[in-house]
């Protein structure tokens, strides 16, 4: 079975002949970064679970005080920008450069909604008297979500860089490793948010 049919995509995936050993999406460097990112957040998740085990009431009550609308908005922004950037890679793979650029710009615009939504959420929190000193739940919440925001901002800067290279004709159907590396980082950052979201906004 080819990797293309395996993924349900029509376009050829480079290095499909290496399907048995597998390919590296993007490049090895970005996967070193993604692994470091995963390790960092695994440590933070352990902090969350230890704190939750020690103070279950604080975590149940804390989640109810946060804006679930804000958390849901950020979740929808992350999965939608991730989807748009996946479409950018898929269209570049079949040589549709214009469509790939359009999907990437759409991904960037939606991704920019994340820091805006976070800023509005923090203003809302402060209006409710919620800050980093409001208890163990909110300390862990601010630490984890700000950390994720920092990683997302790096991703947005990466999208801008890849967009500049794309506009300059830096990618083709045969060579789009940089675009796919950025996409892999953004998807990994998306996966991390999908874990964080229920920690603080759903499990009330």
């Amino acid at each position: 079975m080819s990797t293309a049919s395996l993924n349900g995509l029509d376009g050829p995936i480079p290095d499909a002949s290496r399907a048995t050993s597998g390919r590296v999406p993007g490049n090895k460097g970005i996967w070193v970064g993604i692994c470091c990112e995963f390790v960092e957040f695994l440590v933070l998740f352990v902090v969350y679970f230890v704190a939750r085990a020690h103070f279950p009431e604080a975590f149940e009550q804390g989640a109810a005080r946060l804006s679930r609308t804000a958390g849901t908005t950020i979740t929808l922004l992350m999965i939608t920008s991730s989807f748009f950037i996946a479409c950018s890679v898929a269209t570049m793979r079949v040589g549709r450069r214009g469509a790939s650029l359009a999907w990437l710009v759409a991904g960037l615009l939606v991704a920019l909604g994340y820091p805006v939504a976070k800023w509005l959420e923090i203003q809302w929190n402060l209006a409710q008297g919620i800050n980093g000193d409001s208890g163990i739940f909110f300390t862990v919440y601010y630490y984890l979500t700000f950390n994720h925001l920092v990683h997302a901002v790096w991703g947005i800067l990466g999208i801008l860089w890849v967009l500049a290279r794309h506009l300059a004709g830096g990618y083709s159907a045969e060579d789009y490793g940089g675009l796919e590396a950025l996409a892999s980082y953004w998807h990994a950052t998306d996966i991390i948010w999908l874990v964080i979201f229920p920690f603080f906004y759903v499990l009330a």
């Binding site: 679970f49 939750r52 999908l194 229920p198 499990l203």
Partner: protein
């Protein structure tokens, strides 16, 4: 003559995105309806795993990736759901183990 670009089949990506949106809405509804039920954490853990798997499988194309990358993704995606279930049922024991 310039070759005509092929069309990309985006349907699997669209399906994955719609499923992710649906699971987000479902998770929110469960959080509202089940509120403090212990097994809310089990259901949320299942949704977290499924959403992470969808992004890894459809967007990163995990199944075609190098085994090391596949294993890293699978392990990371499984960690939080397993820890959620462990905290739901063995929270007090976990707190004792983690006490200095």
């Amino acid at each position: 003559m310039t070759p005509t670009p092929e069309s990309a089949n985006l349907r699997p990506l669209i399906f994955a995105w719609l499923t992710l949106v649906g699971l987000t809405v479902l998770g929110n509804q469960l959080g509202t309806l089940l509120h403090d039920a212990a097994w809310l954490q089990v259901m949320v853990a299942g949704i977290v795993w499924l959403k992470g798997y969808l992004v890894a499988d459809r967007f990163i194309e995990m199944r075609a990736a190098h085994p090391f990358i596949r294993n890293v993704l699978r392990a990371f995606i499984a960690f939080a759901p397993l820890a959620l279930v462990a905290t739901a049922f063995f929270g007090a024991r976990l707190a004792r183990w983690a006490t200095l």
